[in-house]
């Protein structure tokens, strides 16, 4: 016993204990430090963004590119109050922003896996088309056109038409900006700036393109709906003026052309 105690009381043991304490302390410090870093990367550490950017040694984990020009106009569009049977958001507020939100929702598509262009086009038709654009002929023609698009997409992705898309392949349309053409209480027409990305397979490079779509909505039966008459009126009005050119958000021209960026609120 005494021999054991003597062994514990040696100078070497004290040194070892101090070293152990130092290691534990430093590890803890490093862990907490690392935790802060990770939080900032994931965007969760909003509590101390100024601290991390003001700290001398640690480089900021994200910063906008040098040529990034902050869009002058931002809009956080309202969401639909409910989701219909086809998975589309409906029930938008009776405001101009609500109308734009409906147009943006109608233009947001995701073609991936089993979900084909036909599915997405018919979803847009059944969820958002107003009464003045509905007929069985229209639905049929939309389906036929979408089938042609599907054939093209399948060919590009290297699978037979009718099959599911290869894993990792997708074709997505995301609305990133808008410019209102004309707005009244019950009718809103707008240009929509969308980013289309296509990836033909797991290892393929993603391709991207921008589109500009003119669409118009009309307040109908307690919700905003796509309207043929309103769109035709918007087309006639758009013919008399130059359409805004396409530019990505962050580009100086994005502001020059009069686009408003859409902020995805959580």
């Amino acid at each position: 016993m005494s021999r054991t105690r003597g062994m514990w009381n040696t100078r070497g043991m004290w040194v070892a204990g101090v070293v152990l304490a130092a290691v534990v302390g430093l590890t803890g410090y490093a862990m907490f430090n690392g935790d802060d870093d990770g939080g900032a990367t994931a965007g969760k550490g909003s509590a101390r963004p100024s601290a991390s950017s003001s700290s001398v040694g640690a480089a900021p984990t994200y910063q906008a590119p040098d040529d990034w020009v902050e869009p002058e106009r931002w809009a956080a569009l309202p969401r639909g109050s409910r989701t219909d049977g086809r998975g589309s958001q409906v029930g938008f507020p009776h405001t101009t922003e609500g109308a734009v939100a409906m147009l943006a929702a109608a233009n947001t598509t995701d073609i991936e896996g089993e979900r084909s262009t036909v599915d997405e086009q018919l979803r847009i038709y059944y969820s958002y088309m107003g009464s003045d654009g509905r007929s069985s002929d229209t639905a049929e023609q939309i389906e036929l056109n979408a089938q042609q698009t599907d054939k093209t997409v399948h060919k590009q992705m290297g699978v037979p038409a009718g099959d599911a898309l290869p894993s990792g392949a997708y074709l997505r349309n995301t609305v990133v900006g808008f410019k209102v053409l004309q707005a009244s209480d019950d009718e809103v027409s707008a240009w929509l700036l969308a980013r289309v990305v296509q990836k033909n397979g797991e290892t393929a490079k993603e391709q991207a393109s921008y589109t500009r779509t003119l669409a118009a909505a009309r307040w109908q039966d307690g919700d905003w709906k796509l309207s043929v008459d309103a769109t035709v009126r918007a087309q006639k009005k758009a013919q008399n003026q130059t359409e805004p050119k396409m530019a990505a958000p962050g580009d100086a021209k994005f502001n020059d052309y009069g686009w408003t960026a859409i902020r995805e609120a959580s």
Binding site: L103, A106, N107, T109, I111, T117, E120, Q121, I124, Y125, Y128, M129, D132, G133, R134, S135, D137, T138, Q141, I142, N145, A146, T149, T152, V153, K155, Q156, G158, L171, N173, L192, A194, V196, V197, Q198, Q207, A208, S209, Y210, T211, R212, T213, L214, A215, L226, V228, D229, T231, V232, Q235, K236, A238, Q239, E243, M246
Partner: protein
Amino acid sequence: MRRLAAVLLALVAVLGLSVAAPQPAAADGVIGNGVEVACKVNAGPVLGTAIEIAGKATGYDLCDKIGDATEKKVKEAWNGVWNSVLGDVINSAADVSKWTIKKVLTVALLGPSLDLEATGLFGRHATLAGMMTWLGLVIATFGAMWQIGKMAVTGQSKHIGRAMAGWLESTILSAVGVGLIAVLVAAGDALTAGLVDATFDGGDAAYKRIVAVMVPEGVSNPVTMLCIVAVLLLVGFIQMVLVFLRQSAIPIQCLLLPVAGGGRVGGDATRQWAPRLITSICVVISYKPILAVIICTGFAEFGHAKTLAEWLRGCATLVLAVLAPGPLTRIFAPFGEAVGAGLAAGGVGGAFTAAAGYIAGRAKDGDDGDSGSSRLTTPVEHAQYVEQSMGRQGGSGGQDGEAGRDAQSQAARNEAGRVPTQAGTGETAGAGTAGAGAAGAGASSGAAAAGAGIAIQVLDGVNNTLQGASGQIGSGGNRQ
């Protein structure tokens, strides 16, 4: 042949590159139509269709994608070219290349080879074949006279023996040669038809698919299309000439058989006619099945996608088919020489043995040579075996410019021949140095050579040189 291959490959490389050059610009360069269907997956087509069905179309595009303006301008420029005279030229060139490919494939793969009987050259009243037989007889007679003279000068009875054997061979070649060729041609046809049927489910589908791949529809860039048809016209035309050459070569070769047979009677130079002709006949007959193998392999895997890579692969296949006769010649040259050596060694029977030995030797190429020779019991058989195998190796020896050495080597052989027991090995050494051209030397040179014989042999050597040179020009098919 190698030079031709180099030229063709260089052409394909150059033209292929210029085909490839406009491609990236259209694919993802400045024009940048990254996502082709970008305007077809949003609400644009839904609204557009509804407006159209409602009859309210204004002609204003609901959706534009970035780069559309540039693309429209480029398309306009291309359309301008298409509508100009150059467009007509390109279109008609495309038509011609389609026709060429179709014709080549029809003749090369689908149609039957030439029917020898139908040519009327070999029937009862065939004047041309009769003339050729007559010519063969004349040559044979002259050859026999030459051999008799040689015998008289040298005092060696082997010369007359050689003439007699040659006469017999000539008769057999004339009698069964044409029939044998007809049978082989028919066999080649059957092989080709079977291959095409198995690969493409019928020949009609075959050339439709190949034409669809090689002359793609809807190439909007006129320069690309021009390059494509230029390459195809060149390759297709050469291919077509080759295929038709094969068709017309068969009757000519059949007509030449009696002449080549007659040559067997004469001296060393004329004795080489038959092996060379046999080589070229083998090449011509096997060209069609080989072509079918190449084309079936090259085009079997094609789907419906029309990419540049596939086009290049198809083009390479066609070029390969053009180049096929070169290697074929090389494959059959030693075979023909083996047959020739066999003819020299033991008449027609020997020729068949030699051919069989050649094939057997090929089959067990990796085996130990001793296992083959151990079965041979007598020295004569052993000598024949050695000679056959030397004849086979002679193919790589090269004959060019060696005909002049023939007289010396003949003298060397005769020196060796003075020791009768070593006749076999002496022959081998001689044949080894002189190449295949010396393979026709007499096998039974047991008798001692007379001094006067050297003079004749020098003459023979001069004759050989002349014949060798003319053979190079006329290309018996043995050397390229």
